[in-house]
């Protein structure tokens, strides 16, 4: 059942929090601001008591599924457990109450943390330099592609094309386009890219190849080095979308595979919560050759002192006011320090173990398009169930009735009816066994009583929503 909107709970004259008393002389705004700039009213603005507000939002929270509520195997999103202590660390006054324009001598702790985090990320990825400025993964992609664009322009031969596999996240082509490139799509026939496919489109007008490794089918791009050689020989760069880094920590470094640029999704691999859609953080790591193009400011260490460096003439500029989503960096830093090198490696190992265990058990009931060892996520499809008119969307909705958040569905686009499962390392075998049992039950239901699945979810407070109606007549705000 839908909770009423806060505007509908409003009552004229009611107020929430108290406003401080004025300890300076009161003035009439009309005396200092022209009357034609003063507003008369804020129409429809809520007027509720503090308790009304608290109850309203707490009730809303109860209509939400989060990692703390249950298993959230959303493929490519790495919904691992977010350690509580990270939240406490980000809220320390020294961090949360620091103004971005306070003098660097007052920000030595924050700058130290940022400097060290850059170092950790360089070490984990095998890149030479890192910027923490981008606010999310796609922002990092834009940063990386702008750097490549600036490089090819500086070389005097602006290149126009970027090669992207058809399995890529939609942000990859969107970011490339935003940076001024034309996208050339290549098909991944066998699950991973073949060197021949890259060689057939790679030319002197191509600035970069943008791929994800492990890729979005959950497979490691085994030919990565050979592919990188092909791209490099023609003067292009290899950009790797770091969204799937959770499979590789302590196991292999992207920098050793010929990758030149990578973005890190701190909100995925490094366990900073997604907040129902952000904030994230998308630092970018580069090889030496691209370092001069990193955004400003850079964090500089001289002796024991940290400072912000602005003197970078080749820099692409600034991507965001101030220095990035610092509060998210504190959480990621805290996570890396808690885990240490062995812990990070173990996280990747267990993430991959969980995914393969699920894949092995579920392939008995669901179609598995690529039957080989996967990395930290696996992709199934509804091929078997669709014979009974039960589709991926139905399976996803039915999982809600069993208390699970559905996996990612209909992505990657190359697998029709894709179901992409990423369990992450923080889930126990018992939880995963319960999920497998639910998936097996749904497979049985699809065979024997498909209507149960097609009418799911039945236990949620709200049923399947009418998307078509929402698009046809968009209602995007409340009106009295």
């Amino acid at each position: 059942m839908s909770s009423g909107l806060i505007f509908e709970k409003s009552s004229k004259g009611r107020r929430g929090i108290s406003i401080p008393k004025l300890d300076v002389p009161d003035i009439n705004p009309l005396d200092v601001i022209p009357h034609d700039v003063l507003r008369a009213d804020i129409e429809g603005f809520p007027e509720v008591s503090e308790l009304d507000a608290v109850r309203h939002f707490v009730n809303l929270s109860q209509m939400n599924f989060g990692v703390d509520t249950g298993f959230y195997p959303l493929g490519s999103c790495t919904m691992k457990y977010n350690p509580k202590v990270n939240e406490d660390m980000a809220r320390l006054s020294g961090f949360s109450k620091a103004h971005p324009y306070q003098a660097p001598e007052l920000s030595q702790g924050a700058l130290q943390l940022m400097y060290e985090l850059e170092g950790f990320l360089s070490e984990i990825s095998g890149m030479d330099a890192v910027t923490l400025q981008p606010a999310a993964g796609a922002h990092g992609e834009l940063c990386g592609m702008l750097m490549i664009s600036a490089y090819v322009k500086a070389k005097g031969k602006p290149r126009k094309k970027v090669i992207i596999p058809d399995t890529a996240h939609g942000t990859n082509p969107a970011s490339s386009n935003l940076a001024g490139f034309t996208v050339v799509t290549i098909k991944e026939g066998k699950g991973i890219i073949s060197p021949e496919a890259v060689a057939s489109v790679m030319d002197e007008d191509t600035a970069a190849l943008m791929l994800t490794n492990p890729n979005t089918i959950g497979l490691f791009e085994t030919n990565i080095k050979e592919i990188a050689d092909i791209v490099h020989k023609k003067g292009g760069f290899v950009y790797c979308d770091g969204a799937n880094l959770n499979a590789l920590m302590g196991i292999a470094k992207l920098g050793d595979m010929g990758v030149d640029v990578i973005q890190f999704n701190l909100h995925k691999t490094f366990s900073t919560p997604h907040g129902g859609g952000g904030p994230g953080s998308g630092p970018v790591g580069v090889k030496k050759i691209l370092e001069p193009f990193l955004p400003v400011p850079r964090i500089i260490k001289r002796g024991k002192r940290f400072n912000l460096g602005f003197n970078c003439p080749m820099s692409i500029g600034r991507l965001k006011a101030f220095y990035g989503n610092f509060g998210i960096m504190v959480r990621a830093y805290s996570y890396i320090r808690a885990m240490g090198p062995d812990g990070l490696k173990k996280a990747s190992e267990m993430a991959v173990l969980n995914a393969n265990y699920i894949m092995e058990k579920l392939k008995k009931a669901y179609h598995l398009p690529f039957d080989q060892t996967c990395m930290h996520e696996c992709v199934l499809s509804d091929k078997v169930q669709s014979e009974k008119d039960v589709y991926t969307l139905d399976i996803a909705k039915r999982l809600m009735d069993y208390g699970f958040h559905p996996p990612t569905i209909y992505f990657p686009l190359v697998v029709p009816g894709a179901i992409m499962i990423e369990p992450t390392e923080t889930e126990s075998k018992e939880t995963i066994d319960r999920f497998i049992a639910a998936m097996m039950t749904i497979a049985n239901e699809a065979r024997e009583s498909p209507d149960i699945v097609k009418n799911a979810p039945q236990t949620t407070k709200i049923g399947r929503l009418d998307e078509v109606n929402a698009v046809k007549k968009p209602v995007l705000r409340w009106k009295p």
Binding site: L38, A150, G277, F322, G327, T373, P457, V475
Partner: protein, 451 residues
């Protein structure tokens, strides 16, 4: 490592099911020459208690606005955050959720965003708002790109009184097309963007004109006159707001026929956080809806006719339109948008009006007291809200350093952004500055200036 639950026995059983002997066999697809032979060179793992000690020690190397009296604003504002904001955003059903792709179990996030969209529309006087952008600067850049999509014109006019870092971000987003940006110089007398200069700079190639309200110097711009010129020329009028508390008192940009209103929502309940995470808000007219970047939440009904909320109009977005999308934004600042919704709800209609008025009173008390100083003058004549520029008649950096020794963060020196304003500082006063704080600033300035 306590975040990983696997026992040795679990691992053994799971490997058995998969049919392999050891965990490292899972990685056979990675060629041996690129597999690491040695552990990562990182500090060793820390138990929670030591972790807390170590990170707390790092945080103590930072000064913060609890230790100092702060008059710094400039795009990041020190406002009181009511207790209920923290309590609600710490509900882990909110902060450990993902983007609400499955609406049946994400109604909390979806409805809260719908309410946020409504609140921003009400405050800005616009028709539609998206679910948030990274910050005010990136939202400004996306607004410029959107204007170019709307009228296919190449050039952008930015007021030089737009936040300098916002101008930098717009240039970065335009990449190799950054030469198409022109700046309209601010008036050194008023501190505002001169209406006649807008008229002089604008032409048939102008896609958009971008004006900050109140601007970077705190001056309240004449949106009415500028809007008329911009629209007569067929350009898109973009208004940027970095201090949205001002909207409690100031007429909304929508009332001046702004086409796109973007800004920074940090003031609505987010901590200073050394500059992030913050909240970019983005609002526009209904007619421009399909050109807008970012996510939107819409109202609809479920199969039983019950009201519910859902992500909608996604066909503009990157996961469907890929390289043809209106923007590449995916993860946004959802929790900060929720923060703003809670903050504004708690404040309510009378609250935001009163709070805005308190901010105004504090700034004007500060301005009043400045008159006592002989060698310090307000630099500009325009009306201001809670920020203003003062001319010290000596190097701004030196004065700020001296104030710092007295425990005062005395605004920001404008020299780094505007070399010609080398003796100027930008001051901000909010409800967090008591009369005593302001008096102390004045007394310290008197002392420094040997008055």
């Amino acid at each position: 490592m306590s975040y990983i639950p696997h026992t040795d026995n679990d691992i053994k059983e799971m490997l058995g099911v998969i049919g392999i002997k050891a965990v490292h066999d899972l990685f056979n697809a990675i060629p041996p020459d690129i597999r690491l032979k040695t552990p990562l060179n990182l500090p060793n793992e820390l138990p929670e208690q030591e972790l807390v000690r170590e990170i707390t020690n790092i945080s103590r190397k930072n000064g913060n606005i609890e230790d100092y009296i702060s008059f710094i604003g400039a795009g990041a504002y020190n406002h009181y955050v009511p207790s209920i904001v923290h309590h609600i955003i710490l509900r882990s059903e909110f902060y450990t959720a993902y983007t609400p792709y499955q609406p049946e179990i994400s109604q909390g996030t979806l409805q809260a965003i719908f309410e946020y969209q409504t609140l921003i529309c009400q405050l800005t006087g616009m028709d539609v708002t998206n679910a948030s952008m990274y910050d005010g600067a990136s939202a400004s850049a996306e607004a410029v790109l959107m204007a170019q999509r709307i009228n296919s014109r190449p050039e952008c006019l930015l007021s030089s009184a737009l936040h300098p870092e916002y101008r930098e971000v717009v240039k970065t987003y335009l990449g190799i097309r950054r030469d198409s940006i022109k700046e309209i110089p601010f008036c050194t007398e008023t501190g505002a963007t001169p209406v006649e200069a807008v008229e002089r700079y604008i032409d048939k190639d102008t896609a958009c004109v971008v004006i900050q309200y109140p601007n970077f110097f705190g001056s309240i711009e004449d949106l009415s006159a500028i809007s008329e010129i911009v629209h007569k020329n067929g350009s898109v009028f973009i208004v940027v707001i970095t201090e949205p508390i001002s909207l409690g008192l100031l007429k909304p940009p929508g009332a001046f026929d702004a086409d796109i209103v973007v800004g920074e929502g940090q003031a609505f309940g987010s901590a200073l956080n050394l500059g992030g995470p913050y909240l970019g808000f983005f609002a526009t007219k209904e007619g421009f809806l399909r050109n807008m970047p970012g996510r939107l939440v819409g109202e609809t009904i479920d199969k039983d006719g019950k009201r519910g909320y859902i992500l909608t109009l996604a066909t503009r977005e990157q996961h469907i339109r890929r390289e043809k999308a209106t923007s590449n934004i995916c993860t946004n600042e959802g929790l900060c948008a929720l923060t703003a919704a809670i903050y504004l709800t708690a404040l309510g209609k009378t609250g935001i009006v009163n709070l805005a008025k308190i901010n105004l009173c504090k700034m004007h008390y500060l301005r009043q007291r400045l008159k006592e100083l002989k060698n310090v003058k307000p630099a500009f004549s325009s009306p201001v809200f809670n920020e203003c520029v003062i001319n010290l008649n000596e190097d701004g950096d030196t004065v700020i350093k001296s104030l710092l020794k007295q425990g005062i963060l005395g605004g920001i020196s404008l020299k780094r952004f505007y070399p010609q304003l080398n003796s100027h500082i930008l001051l901000c006063a909010t409800e967090m500055n008591t009369k005593e704080d302001i008096d102390m600033l004045i007394e310290e300035l008197k002392e420094l200036k040997n008055e």
